[in-house]
Amino acid sequence: METFGLTIAAILVAGAPLVLATLGETLTEKAGIINLSLDGSILLSAMVAFAIATTFDNPWLGVLGGMAVGATIAGVLGLIGIYLGQSQLAVGFVLTLLCRDLAYFLGHSFSRQPGPNLGLWHIPGIGEITLFGPIFASQSPVVYMGLAAIFACWWWMYRTEGGMRLRAVGESPRAAFGRGIRVRLVRLCYCLAGGALVGMAGAAFSLAVKPGWGRPQGCEGAGWIVLAIVIFGGWHPVRAALGAFFFAALQVSGIYLQEIFPSIPAPVFQVAPFPMMILTLLAVNMGRQGWVQDIVRRHPFLKKFSNAWSIDAPAALGQDFDPKKGL
């Protein structure tokens, strides 16, 4: 039971940055904007968070710095993609590469330096509770940040007016414009908010999960995994968070497997999440294949599963909208 609890605790920690970034991207994509710059954003905000935390010796200032960086990058994407009408995918991809190189360039002097981290929060009195105790008695703050963000995103998206507008601009910007919603502004706002969450994820990497800065930092590629999890999560915050924890569980189990099979070189385990990512996307899209649909039609009880399995993207994802051109 003890080891089980510790494993869960490890998954929660490993999953926290993934959850934060996934929620951020889910918010952005729900508003109809694809922020492909995630991988670079996470790295750059991780670097800045660590640099600020080291310079001011305050990890929480670092978290704020990371969030600001994430929001700034998303803002650049938003301005060029939404207002200047350039391809969101192209701009996002350039930003990914640019931010990665910028992180290595600016972070040069912080490389392999000791620095502060967010430490652990101890909650007294729950250590004895079965299962719960080992998981939460002494846990990294990023875990609580992640869990709180899941609830906050769900509540905002499905229980508030603002969330309704968010989904509206992602579903049909034309209709939203017709209802007097300022589509581009709303989209930019969620671009910034999503970017801030992604930046928080970067800070969570460099200040808690993989503390420190270096080349490689250890979170390379995480942004791409997150983009895939958003699809797997069907643009729903809770399901997306479950997907993030699923990938975290894979990473954690990789560490165990490495101990069991020492003959397999370590690099194989490091790239394992990526074929998993492809397989996950393959599986999610399976429900749209003709032969699967035929089976579902012959066995109507499967319909519920297939509907829940393949969720459609926001209808206007990636499409730009110019109110001046009118409806």
Partner: protein
Amino acid sequence: MIVLNDIHKHYGRVRANDGISLTLEPGQIYALVGENGAGKSTLMRVLAGHTRPTSGTIEIGGETISYLTPTLARERGVGMLYQDPLDFPAMPVWENFQLGAPKRTKQEVIDVIGELSYRLDACFLPDEPVSSLTVGERQLLELLRLLDLGATTLILDEPTTGITPEQKQDLFNLLMKLAREEQHTIILVTHKLSEAYELADSILIMRQGALVSTLQPPYNEKELVTLMFGEAAEGVEDELPQLPPAGPTPRLAMNDTHFAGPKYSMGPMNFIAQPGECIGLAGLDGSGQELFLRGICGLDRMPRGVMSLDGKEYRSNDFNTLRRAGIQFVPADRLEMALFPALNLMEHIKLAFPDRRGDLTEFYETQCVESFNLRAHPDTNASELSGGNQQRLLLSLIPDDSSLLLMEHPTRGLDAGSARQVWNHLKGRCAKGASLIFFSPDLDEVLEHSHRVIVFYDRAIAGIVDREHATMDIVGALMAGKPISELMETTR
């Protein structure tokens, strides 16, 4: 009272609205008629705040302004209903209703929907996604929403497309009630004169971006037609060719055929079409007619059943095989589905007739210019063509020996002259022995040009009606789900 004063709206060189002045009084029903492309919709979008005019002023509520935004228009009580409802299909009814309205709780919204539905004799489940409603229901929901927002000027853009005659009657009664009892201003945008006669207190006629006349009842049909179409009103429409006696091998025979599309499947279906036959498909949006056409040409799958074409049996409907066998499909959404926007006309010809070698200029002259009157330079990109020329291009790309044409809404977005030309061409092909299966959301068009009408309801064939029985009443009732046995008894 609303006064539009010298409204201009230019898109590049195109003058969609060219100096329009207009006064709208409360309690009146106006019909804004004109051909496709006459500028009706643009003018109404200006009034609804969805498009900014290039110049001109709008006087509304005693204030003169140069343009409206959607929010301003809502505050001044202007609401617009689009031809394809401008809503959020994936979101539930209550959220669709609430979006854009002042803040309220979900329960309050549900109560308001219930109350309005009761008053207007409708029924909505607040948590149902809008995608599960029919087009007619979605329009009604939009109408309720506009009324709830306090709209006193209602603009309806072609509201009768894609709804049953019965739903149309209900809608017209409702509009009449709103104008007479509650002093609302109603503007009905339409290209159908019959609707204008039926409802309007005055008819506004637009042609080529200008308001050419305002007529009061009693209306003179001949005058109206001339004003609306100008010279294009002259011209002869060919008669539907006589159906030759049925030969031994039908053109198309479906035997317990099933089709499966991405959204739904249908079957088993049994059906036979003869050479030279024009068959119209009628049905509400999503009733199965789209899948029927896409299934026959092989764009959607045929999981079970057999299809034979000119006596040859096909157990699977591979698109390329069927295309070689003479089936041609022309989608309604021409630029999105059937043409390459940034390729020029000559390149389209090259792609459509890959077996033709050498210089295609001469071929272009005979194929496009002479037989279709397609007046465009072969270097023109498809995206720069007008809707009529796009359809002409597509028809000219269909080889002469094609035996079965499948067409979605052949005259969508075409002006009357082009529409007549398209129909004359299609009928010419039928007279030479090709078969045509088409659908159109305009029921008049279906009835006018078909030897037989297949009516779809709820993703199945509801009935196949001969030309002599294919009246608005019978087809309309079938579309609404009345069983065919019942209908045929009452007509006897």
